[in-house]
């Protein structure tokens, strides 16, 4: 079986927000030079889910890592290959970039079609930069496949996937026939680190680069031109709070003072 995993390059989520600068005119976040970029953590977990399926089913499982982004995104493919993916696909054509969830899902769905014989698409539940959570589900809609969201565990037996989903009030296990799109949540657990052996092998694994033309996408439907959402503004939310620190020589005194503050504000 073939699994396609969609991975996105984002600013390292551990980077403190204060490091970023907002370019109000371009309505974009500016990352100072030298700040690290990383694979979006949910996507890393989606790749981990694919690797676990291969661990269980053995060598017949092929894993392709797909990314849409600027040329620098090649490094997340390298990371995916070092984690254990078999091949990479880079969609770095400027005509495909700066789109919204719709344009991105359209390009990735076209790439899945071009790969051919894909049984399972795995993606993070949302990207760690836009936090939108629409691309994976959108790909399923565009491919005419089923989407199963917020997976904690993904297993495949024959032509059926068994997925445990995280709900607001617990867990749910569903079965769905392949082909399928599954979006993976952080509850899946920590992704593996690239091993030295895989990192050495990664350099020899193939990476294809496809443009809008190869995907059969007309220019007006791709990237920024095809986007349906327009970012009008990007800003830092205002903080209105002024914190009053509770004084006290001992924890008991602090606790009593806090309880009095709550009482006086009629919160008890």
């Amino acid at each position: 079986m073939r699994i396609a995993v969609c991975v996105k390059q984002v600013p390292n989520p551990d980077t403190p927000a204060a490091v970023f600068r907002v370019d109000e005119t371009a309505r974009e976040l500016v990352l100072p030079p030298g700040q690290p970029l990383a694979m979006s953590p949910f996507d890393e977990q989606a790749l981990e889910a694919a690797l676990r399926i291969r661990d269980e089913l053995g060598g017949t499982v092929g894993i392709s890592a797909l990314t849409l982004g600027p040329d620098a995104s090649r490094s997340v493919l390298k990371h995916a290959l070092a984690m254990g993916a078999d091949e990479g696909v880079l969609l770095a054509d400027p005509a495909l970039l700066s789109g919204d969830s719709y344009a991105t899902a359209l390009a990735l769905a076209a790439a899945v079609r071009k790969l051919g014989a894909v049984d399972l698409v795995l993606a993070g539940r949302q990207a760690a930069d836009t936090d939108a959570g629409a691309v994976g589900i959108g790909m399923a809609e565009l491919l005419g496949w089923t989407a199963v969201t917020f997976a904690k565990e993904v297993r495949v037996a024959g032509a059926t996937a068994r997925v445990t989903r995280v709900l607001d009030d617990g867990l749910e296990t569903v079965e769905a026939p392949l082909p399928l799109v599954v979006t993976v949540s952080n509850e899946l657990g920590a992704p593996r680190k690239p091993s030295l052996r895989e990192t050495m092998r990664a350099a020899r694994k193939p990476v294809a680069a496809w443009g809008a033309g190869e995907l059969g996408l007309a220019a007006q439907r791709a990237g920024a031109a095809g986007a349906r959402r327009v970012r009008e503004r990007l800003f830092v939310p205002a903080r209105e709070s002024h914190c009053e620190f509770i004084a006290g020589a001992t924890p008991q005194e602090q606790a009593s003072a806090l309880a009095r503050c709550m009482r006086d504000a009629k919160l008890l």
Binding site: A105, D129, G170
Partner: protein, 333 residues
Amino acid sequence: MAAGVLVVTEIALGKPVAPVYELLGLAGRLAAGTSGKVEAALLGRGIEGCASDLIARGAERVYLADEGALADYEPERWVARLVRIARESGPAAILLPHTTLGADLAPRLAFRLDTAVAAGCVEIARDSGRLLFTRPCYGGSFRETLSMRTAPAVATVRGGCHEAAARDPRRKGEVVRVEASTAEPAPRMNVVARERTVSDGMRLEEARVVVAGGRGLEGADGFVLLAELAQALGGAVGASRVPCDLGWCPHSMQIGLTGKTVAPEVYIAVGISGAGHHMAGCGNAGNIIAINTDREAAIYGQARWGLVGDYRQVIPPLIAAIREIHATARKSE
């Protein structure tokens, strides 16, 4: 140009979840002064009685689909029915609560309607005829305002960001039944098991007081103390992402960007640093109280009161002080 707003109702325990009333309040403000109506889509089984509730909360028309096949949320059937409702209603925007159901359903609906979705909005405004959607991004550290080139715009809205529509039983509205079509889609996935996390009865999203713990609790034991404090305050216990990922508490307790959104009157954050992805789930709380050993923690920037100290030493006397205040208040009544 379409100006109406359609609210998709999520039902729990036989009644609309609290964010639905907030969506109706928001829809009323967005439709005010326009030719557009406030409408609601009500899908489920045995939920017909909720229609009058939605009308009392401001829905001028309720599209009702009450049948066994819609009893539990199942995306294929729900999306197909909602597409028909959306085509009939022709709204400018379709609003859903930003819950697991809403986050699963909204993108499907948007793509099926060949339009776009804004997820996890905290604000929606009308600006010279068009709608602007403001939402947290980059893990909650930044916000973006979006406009849409296609209609209807689909949006999920975070709980606690908007005032709920007041209930007024004198309001009038019509109920339109949307029956199953002859070509009803078959579910494409089959639920084989469901495991509900049993909480102590109170829904985290509806609690007036929430006591939440983070990495600073340093272990599962801390939640026992937090539960005791929550009990003294008549509240519920939540958590940031780290304790859930480390297995100190169930994921159903997670508050934040990928967890629940709460807006209680009092939010006590214990051992929580205040990262953007957590604040995206609790930033609208009325009063944030932070207890942390690190005086430089970002959480203090958003707190009304800060207490620098070790929660193990502070919380037991805090529980005692709260109980004492309660006892005094009861005596004087």
